[in-house]
C-alpha cells in the first residue's frame, strides 16, 4: 500500500512538473526577449532599430545580414498602441507575436504597398470597435517585428532612412 501511494505521488508530481515546464518555457523565453528589447529601445511601445548585422559583435543567433530589423515590445495595459510602417523600395513585413510566442498576424508590402497603419488592442478591450484598423492582440504584451530587405550597404541606408519614420506608440500619445 505504501509503495502504491509513493508511486502515485511520483507519477502525479512528474506530470505536474512536466506541465509546469511546458507552460513556463515560452513565457520565460518571450519575457527575456521583451525585456531586452524594451531596454534597448528605452522603454515599451518604442521601436528599436538595430544596426546592420555585424559578425564581430554578434547579438542574436542566425541574423539575416540581408535584412534591416526593427522591433517594438508593445504593452497594451495602458490602452491601444498605434503601429505605422512606411513604404519601402523592396520587400518588408510586419510580424506580431503574442507573449506566448504565437505569431498571430503578419503583413507585408505586397498587400500594403503604401505602408500600413494598425491599432493594436488587447483582447476584451471595448475600444476595438471604435478603431477602424484595430488588430486584436491575444495578450497584453508582445513583440512587433519589421523586416526590411537590405542586401547591400546602400540598400541598408535606404531602409534605415525609411524605418526612422515608423511609429510604435501609445494611441493616446500619438500627435502630442
Amino acid at each position: 500500500m505504501k509503495t502504491l501511494r509513493a508511486l502515485s505521488v511520483l507519477v502525479i508530481s512528474a506530470a505536474l512538473g512536466g506541465t509546469a515546464f511546458l507552460q513556463a518555457l515560452p513565457v520565460i523565453v518571450m519575457d527575456r526577449a521583451m525585456a531586452a528589447i524594451t531596454k534597448s529601445a528605452g522603454g515599451p511601445n518604442r521601436w528599436h532599430h538595430p544596426p546592420r548585422a555585424d559578425p564581430m559583435t554578434p547579438s542574436i543567433v542566425r541574423p539575416s545580414p540581408d535584412l534591416a530589423y526593427s522591433v517594438c515590445a508593445y504593452d497594451l495595459r495602458g490602452g491601444p498602441v498605434h503601429i505605422h510602417v512606411g513604404p519601402g523600395a523592396q520587400y518588408w513585413s510586419l510580424a506580431l507575436y503574442a507573449d506566448n510566442t504565437d505569431n498571430f498576424r503578419t503583413f507585408n508590402d505586397r498587400d500594403h504597398a503604401a505602408g500600413l497603419d494598425i491599432d493594436l488592442v488587447a483582447k476584451g478591450d471595448a475600444r476595438a470597435s471604435s478603431l477602424p484598423n484595430a488588430i486584436i492582440s491575444p495578450s497584453k504584451k508582445g513583440l512587433a517585428l519589421v523586416r526590411r530587405l537590405a542586401p547591400s550597404q546602400a540598400d541598408f541606408r535606404l531602409a534605415d532612412g525609411a524605418r526612422q519614420a515608423d511609429i510604435c506608440g501609445a494611441l493616446g500619445l500619438i500627435g502630442l
Partner: protein, 200 residues
C-alpha cells in the same frame, strides 16, 4: 500519516516534479531537432512561425524557432553536411551550385557552429536573389571558402569552424508552401581540404 510519512511524500513529490520537468525538457529538445524534415540534406522546420495549438508545440517553437515567420511568409532551410554527407568545415573549399528558388526573394547565408555569422571582415556572409539576378538566376555557382576563387559569387567561411548554411525563401510560391520538401535547393560539392589550420 505520521510526520515522517509527510516528509517522505514531499520529497517524492519534489523528485517527481523535477524528473517530470527534466523529461519534458529533453522531449522538447528532441522534438525541436526532429521537427526539421527533408529535402535531405536540407532540413526545414515544419513548426516555425506556426500558431501553436498546444503547449508542447509552443514550447518547441520557443526553443528552436523563436520569432520565425510562418510558412506563407518565409520558409527556412538549413544543412550542415556536403553532398557526400560530411560535415561542412572551414578547412575545406566547396562549390554551391543551384538555381533561382521559387520565391519573391531568397538567400543562402553561412553561420558558424554557434549559429552566429562567421567572425570575419570579408563582407561575404551570403548570396541572395538580388545579387544573382541577371548573372545566372537560372543557374549559379558560388565558392564557399576562406578566400575568393574564380567563381562569380563567394561566401566566406573564414573563422566559421564546422558551419551550417541556411536558405531563406521570402513569399514562397503556393507550391513551395504546400510542400517545402519538394523545393529544389543548391548542392554543395567539396573541392579540397587543407591539412592542418584554416587558410589565413
Amino acid at each position: 500519516m505520521r510526520l515522517g510519512g509527510w516528509v517522505l511524500s514531499l520529497g517524492l513529490a519534489g523528485l517527481g516534479a523535477l524528473s517530470g520537468a527534466a523529461a519534458t525538457a529533453l522531449a522538447v529538445e528532441w522534438a525541436g531537432r526532429s521537427d526539421w524534415a527533408g529535402p535531405n540534406p536540407w532540413q526545414t522546420s515544419l513548426l516555425a512561425g506556426a500558431r501553436a495549438a498546444d503547449p508542447f508545440t509552443r514550447a518547441v517553437i520557443a526553443r528552436s524557432s523563436l520569432l520565425a515567420l510562418n510558412r506563407q511568409e518565409t520558409i527556412y532551410f538549413a544543412r550542415k553536411t556536403d553532398d557526400a554527407g560530411q560535415p561542412l568545415d572551414a578547412k575545406c573549399t566547396y562549390l554551391l551550385s543551384g538555381k533561382g528558388l521559387p520565391a519573391r526573394w531568397w538567400s543562402y547565408t553561412l553561420y558558424d557552429e554557434a549559429h552566429f555569422l562567421a567572425r570575419n571582415r570579408d563582407n561575404a556572409p551570403s548570396i541572395d536573389a538580388s545579387r544573382v539576378a541577371g548573372k545566372g538566376a537560372e543557374g549559379f555557382v558560388a565558392r564557399i571558402s576562406n578566400v575568393p576563387g574564380p567563381e562569380p559569387f563567394w561566401i566566406s567561411s573564414r573563422h566559421s569552424g564546422r558551419f551550417e548554411l541556411v536558405a531563406r525563401l521570402y513569399n514562397p510560391t503556393a507550391q513551395a508552401q504546400a510542400d517545402p520538401r519538394q523545393v529544389e535547393l543548391a548542392s554543395i560539392t567539396k573541392l579540397a581540404c587543407q591539412d592542418g589550420k584554416p587558410a589565413p
